[in-house]
């Protein structure tokens, strides 16, 4: 599972999303859309969103920090990967 989080440094919900994933030992790539112009373009092209965090999970786009949505997504992903084994 590849996760990219598009963030701004001042965004609280971005920090909450990162903490949520950190606590569960899930790795992700963070792209700061303020410092990195290309990340900003990439985020807007992918999602047409003007709000952070934008979370890209294997190409599926999520906007904002929605704990229960992320939780169930991680759960279904984990059961998928354990089935593969």
């Amino acid at each position: 599972m590849k996760i990219i989080i598009y963030t701004t440094p001042t965004c609280v919900y971005c920090r909450m999303t990162k903490e949520f994933l950190d606590k569960r030992g899930v790795s992700y790539i963070e792209r700061n859309v303020i410092e990195d112009e290309s990340a900003r373009e990439e985020m807007i092209n992918k999602s047409h969103q003007l709000g952070v965090p934008v979370i890209d999970i294997d190409g599926e786009i999520f906007v904002g920090f929605n704990r229960s949505e992320l939780e169930s997504l991680l759960k279904s992903n984990q059961s998928l990967s354990s089935k593969k084994i």
Binding site: T10, V12, M16, I34, L50, G51, V52, R67
Partner: protein, 305 residues
């Protein structure tokens, strides 16, 4: 069965929790997250004893203080969605499907952002319509934006946007701005800012993202259009009192009516503190104090029974 269930993890809930734990009341606190509405504040400068702190760090401090208490149960990442009366107390049902029983309740669930409720608002949420200026202001670099609301939060959103936006229309429905004079001065004298008063916002327009906002001038009744790519909504708040509206007395604004000496509500066994109540000033320091008052009164209530 718990002696006390505290609903909410903002300043009021945490203050109540710390006091209840120190009084050794059997207490549970249920909250979605810690820190309340100030969580999204860039810089809190009026929390007494600390000169300056971000809302995020402040929320962490509240959580840390509560978790340092030995005797309190904490259920975070959850919300109370329904309350039922039961023999000798209350049954609280949470979003995740748990049921909690408690003899008394302290309501500290605060309030949430008021929305404009105009066409286009929902459709373009996070496609130009924003509710967290500190989060999203940098994304509006080189764009023109509207800030809706002339109170303190509207003024602060304008300040957050100043380094990025090319033009900021500050729209207010009244005929004078409401926020603190010190902040007003800072905002109004900036050439990027144009204040428009007596405004009734009618519609947010766009295709993939926001392209404009339509409003009516309440004096002339003219309908005008602003070419903007962003709308920041800062028009006050609505109390989170829906889950108790069948039991406790609310005022016209949905605030829980309390006795300000004891924080008791209209129903025996239910107290409330902070922004959910009809307290005149919605402030972190006041919410904390009011919750302390409530908790001490709950302690008295058990002792005198």
């Amino acid at each position: 069965m718990y002696d006390l269930a505290i609903i909410g993890g903002g300043p009021a809930g945490v203050a109540g929790g710390v006091y209840a734990a120190r009084k050794k009341m059997k207490t549970v606190l249920i909250t979605d997250f810690f820190g309340g509405q100030s969580l999204v504040s860039a810089d809190i400068q009026n929390w007494i004893g600390v000169v300056s702190i971000s809302g995020f760090e402040w929320g962490k401090k509240l959580e840390e203080h509560l978790r340092a208490q030995e005797s309190i149960d904490i259920m975070d990442s959850d919300l109370v969605s329904k309350v039922e009366r039961m023999d000798g107390g209350w049954r609280l049902l949470t979003q995740s499907g748990k049921a909690i029983e408690a003899k008394t309740m302290l309501l500290t669930s605060g309030s949430r952002r008021r929305k404009l409720n105009v066409p286009g608002e929902k459709e373009f949420e996070s496609r130009g319509v924003a509710y967290c200026s500190i989060c999203d202001a940098p994304l509006f670099k080189d764009r023109a934006v509207v800030v809706a609301g002339g109170g303190n939060s509207g003024l602060e959103a304008t300040i957050d946007l100043l380094p990025y936006a090319t033009k900021i229309f500050l729209l207010h429905r009244g005929d004078v701005l409401k926020g603190d004079p010190v902040t007003q001065e800072k905002v109004v004298r900036n050439p990027k800012v144009q204040v428009i008063l007596n405004v009734e916002i009618q519609e947010i327009i766009g295709s993939q993202i926001v392209t404009g906002l339509k409003y009516r001038d309440k004096i002339s009744s003219d309908v005008r259009m602003l070419d903007v790519q962003g709308v920041f909504v800062e028009i006050g708040s609505v109390p989170n009192s829906d889950f108790v509206k069948e039991f406790v007395k609310l005022n016209d604004w949905g605030e829980v009516v309390v006795d300000h000496k004891t924080q008791r509500t209209s129903v025996e066994g239910i107290w409330a503190a902070g922004d959910i109540t009809d307290v005149m000033y919605k402030q972190n320091n006041i919410s904390m104090g009011d919750a302390v008052k409530a908790t001490l009164n709950i302690y008295e209530y058990f002792r005198s029974r």
